[in-house]
């Protein structure tokens, strides 16, 4: 969480200076979800992060170097400079390629779960998406398909109460998004998305169900977007200051530090050590990203189709 937070803050700084050229969708305040969920997984499980699940990339092992250079549009970044980092895939890290169309990743994640089930593997497929994405037809079709086929999938809603500039009340008239799972024949659970341990616990249960062949779970994590929708927007545009205030008090990092302190696990300057290593990792990545070369223009023509030899060999 600390690494992610530091990453987000630094990336925003670099964006203001024009170094980061990708539109940033800051995850400040939502870090506990990606962390709690991904710690509940095995390395051979797969995930598709949302536009805002920064923590998931870092926990799953995408290096800060690679991620950041992607955001700078460098050849060392996402898809060799061809894709935005926040939707990147990584085979090694078990991160499937998502979609910049919110919600469209949901059926794709279901398809990965289908592959696992067909091959009798006890792997799990996890899809992260925002509350806004639940309004898409693909949410409905994807969850229904997963429910009917009892696929080993976990659908994680990062419910941060907003979709761009619009509060959820304008998009949703029901009482709980998690409750929609009933209509698909599997459980829906709502947890405090700012409590990393609560997320981890709920996730562990969902994963156990999936591995046992009992089908999907819809996990709604309640959280709050501390910043604007993207780097171009002021942090709390159009929102009630009291609302913002109260959520800042429930910052997931604050909460977890308090919990650790309470359990007596933060002794010996542990935090300072972590902070230092985080700072070092970030600064190393900044240097790496800045120094990395821009892509060769010819890169544009690669990876559109498989190289001809591969195609020929296939026949």
């Amino acid at each position: 969480m600390l690494l992610t937070r530091a990453y987000e803050d630094r990336a925003q700084e670099l964006w203001s200076k024009g170094l980061v050229v990708e539109s940033l969708h800051g995850s400040q305040g939502q870090e506990a979800i990606g962390v709690g969920v991904c710690y509940g997984l095995r390395p051979d499980d797969v995930i598709i992060p949302s536009l805002r699940t920064r923590a998931a990339f870092l926990v799953r092992g995408v290096s800060v170097r690679q991620f950041l250079s992607g955001m700078l549009g460098k050849a060392t970044g996402a898809a060799k400079g061809k894709a935005t980092a926040h939707h990147m895939g990584s085979k090694d890290a078990g991160i499937l390629l998502g979609s910049a169309l919110v919600g469209s990743s949901i059926p794709v994640a279901a398809g990965a779960a289908l592959a696992f089930k067909m091959r009798d593997e006890d792997r799990v497929s996890v899809c992260f998406f925002g509350d806004g994405a639940t309004e898409r037809g693909d949410f409905h079709e994807g969850l229904n398909l997963a429910g009917v086929m009892k696929l080993p999938a976990v659908f994680v809603i990062e419910n941060n109460l907003y979709a761009e500039f619009t509060p959820i009340s304008k998009h949703f008239a029901g009482t709980s998004l998690a409750a929609r799972a009933e209509g698909y024949g599997f459980p829906g659970v709502t947890v405090d998305g700012n409590d990393v341990l609560a997320v981890y616990d709920a996730m562990s249960e969902a994963v156990a169900r999936a591995r046992a062949g009992e089908g999907p779970t819809l996990l709604e994590c309640m959280t709050y977007r501390q910043r604007g929708h993207s780097s171009s927007h002021p942090p709390t545009e159009g929102r009630d200051p009291a609302e913002v205030e109260s959520w800042l008090k429930r910052d997931p990092i604050l909460l977890f530090k308090a919990e650790l302190a309470h359990r007596g696990l933060l002794g010996g300057g542990a935090l300072a050590l972590i902070d230092a290593s985080v700072a070092e990792e970030i600064e190393d990545a900044v240097r790496f990203a800045v120094d990395s070369p821009l892509p060769d223009p010819a890169e544009l023509y690669r990876d559109v189709y498989a190289p001809a030899e591969t195609s020929e060999a296939a026949r």
Binding site: S23, T84, G132, L300
Partner: protein
Amino acid sequence: MTTIAYREAVQRALREEMRRDPAVFLFGEDVAEAGGVFKATKGLLEEFGPTRVFDTPISESAIVGAAVGAAMMGMRPVVEVMFADFTTIAMDAIVNSAAKARFLSGGEFSAPMVVRMSYGAGARWGAQHTQSVEAWLMNVPGLTIVMPSTPYDVVGLLKSAIRSPDPVVVLENKQLYGKKEDVPDEEFFVPIGKAAVRRPGQDVTIVATGYMVDRALSAADALAAGGHSAEVIDARSVLPLDVETIVGSVTRTGRLVVVHEAPVFGGFGAEVAAAVGAQAFGYLAAPIERLGGAWSPIPFGQVLIDEYLPSEQDIVQAAQRAISA
């Protein structure tokens, strides 16, 4: 005359039409409170209130579908689809419902509605937020598609689109939202289906759409410096296409370059080239040159985008090839 930006032209057209006709209304994602991601609908909520300007859930299929239903019931909906790439999720409502409403009801119903979408590469929005989608929709009878390239045309075409008795897709280029121009203060229209000759010339005809019109004009400057006179035609309306104006030009110049953002294969330029090839047969002194985006998804980083889009230099070279053929 007042100088306005392309995005303000959207506002003006909507404002004028909404003042005139209470059936006209605007909806879409973040178009009301936020005034749209590109601020193209700013101020409309304030003037017309939340009944006529409102935000919707992230449901492109349903909002375009709802526009069809409202239009059949006598309203004149203007719906914003934030990025034209989302055509892929709204296409059923556009193609199967809106475009066929009049035909399948024998004229009893129709779907007079406007779908505004931002399109185009140039900024770094990635492969799924920057596509040019005109070719996906061009082969659909019942539909009308326009691509304004100037503030004047935004005002005039959008107003014509709103008054059209049938569904119109308006493709607004993201790179142009800040482009400024003097426009008359009195009301005016741009008729759908008429191309604009942006610059007259004798040696070669360049047909372009959207943002590529600006590049074509710069290319024409560069060609002029080299002693060649290029006629630049802004297609403006993709469907119906003003073949007459284009063919008329080519019968004089004998040479044609078509340039757009979408890839060449299966793109808008194919139709232009095919139509001109047939109708100006015998007048062509050189093969028609087609320029478009590279045959790849649209990349993210600037270096690659620059490689992707046809450049001024590409246009100049194509024109020179045609002239010297």
